[in-house]
Symmetry: C2
Subunit: 217 residues, 2 copies
């Protein structure tokens, strides 16, 4: 019974790893499509989100199944339910990658991001990619040091968002309202992607070690 | 045992009702503060969010407790876990009310919303209030017709968001970039508030009737 429980938990973990890698790829591809006005790449991201949703559904089904059949004790129970929170964060990260891809699509064949914003948006994309990569890492290795880095990564993302808004609200801005509205939303989406990743990362550490103070939700 | 289970479930439901009413009040007060540049009102919303968070924590504790002590059967299990999803949506709605309040605070003593946007922002606030009110109603009355209305309310919110963006991107816009960036974020927050309410409403219907096809998450 205990062994069966562990095996089922490992399956949930593997599905979460697949989700984490999937949303990381999605955001990477969405960012590339955004900065290169690549319609095909952006469309792939939007279509690919159904797979993330399906995996989240799998996580849910497995968790319910596990709870019903194994009736885990209180501490394990909390841990198993944490998988749902992680899945929900990852699912939302996939949605945010779609939002970025849709901004790219709305402006094709133009690049949606004016030239002077591209370096900072590129940095946001790089930070998002690094953060998302850590979720899968922590799921696989239960590395607490890696999880601790996430707060710093998130601060970096907040700083980049401030830079982005500063450029749009500065006196040198010559692009008018539309790219600023897109820029405001883009900034928000990268920032939310990082927030969800930090939430997921803290919950993941608890999920794989059972040792954090509380799951982040 | 069964009776005890029902009593505990009723307690969870009551905490969710309190959360739903709390976030409804928060968004109503945030919207009023936004449109009247009322710093005190906006600050109250920001400070008050801790109570919503505390209630969400209560929902979590009660759900874990209930799962551990009552070990519900598979169908009840799914239902009990749904309370966590509802709580998470409501908690997020509280955050979004705070975001609106913070925009108000950033521009005080100015009104953050330019005059020609106020009617549509006012309509978004009214729609948000109506939607949030339905969550508590459905929790109390299990009224499926009320839950069915939420999709239409959400469509209305999407339509209002389009109107808002149309005004900011139209040729008559004379306010430059900053109020447009605020406006883009405000539109997004009301829209997300409605999205979470629709999610919560569908999950609530399942939670109180056990009869919907699946919980919305």
């Amino acid at each position: 019974m205990r062994e069966e429980y562990r095996a089922e938990l490992a399956e949930v973990t593997q599905t979460l790893v697949d989700m984490a890698e999937g949303v990381r790829d999605a955001m990477r591809q969405a960012s590339a499509a955004l900065l290169e006005a690549d319609a095909t790449g952006a469309e792939e991201v939007v279509l690919g989100d159904a797979e993330t949703d399906a995996r989240y559904h799998q996580v849910e089904e497995r968790v319910y199944d596990l709870l019903a059949r194994q009736a885990p004790v209180a501490s394990d129970l909390r841990l198993v339910v944490t998988a749902l929170h992680i899945g929900a964060d990852l699912e939302r990260m996939g949605d945010l990658a779609c939002h970025v891809a849709k901004i790219a699509l709305r402006r094709v064949p133009e690049v949606a991001v004016p030239e002077e914003l591209r370096p900072v948006v590129g940095d946001m994309a790089t930070t998002a990619d690094r953060i998302a990569g850590k979720i899968a890492d922590i799921l696989r290795t239960a590395d607490a040091a890696r999880a601790a880095e996430l707060e710093r990564d998130d601060d970096e993302m907040d700083e980049l968002q401030k830079q982005l808004y500063g450029l749009m609200l500065g006196t040198a801005w010559r692009h008018g309202v539309e790219p600023a509205v897109d820029g405001a939303l883009l900034g928000r989406w990268y920032e939310r992607f990082a927030d969800h990743a930090v939430n997921a990362g803290q919950a993941v550490l608890y999920f794989v070690t059972g040792e954090a103070a509380a799951p982040a939700v």
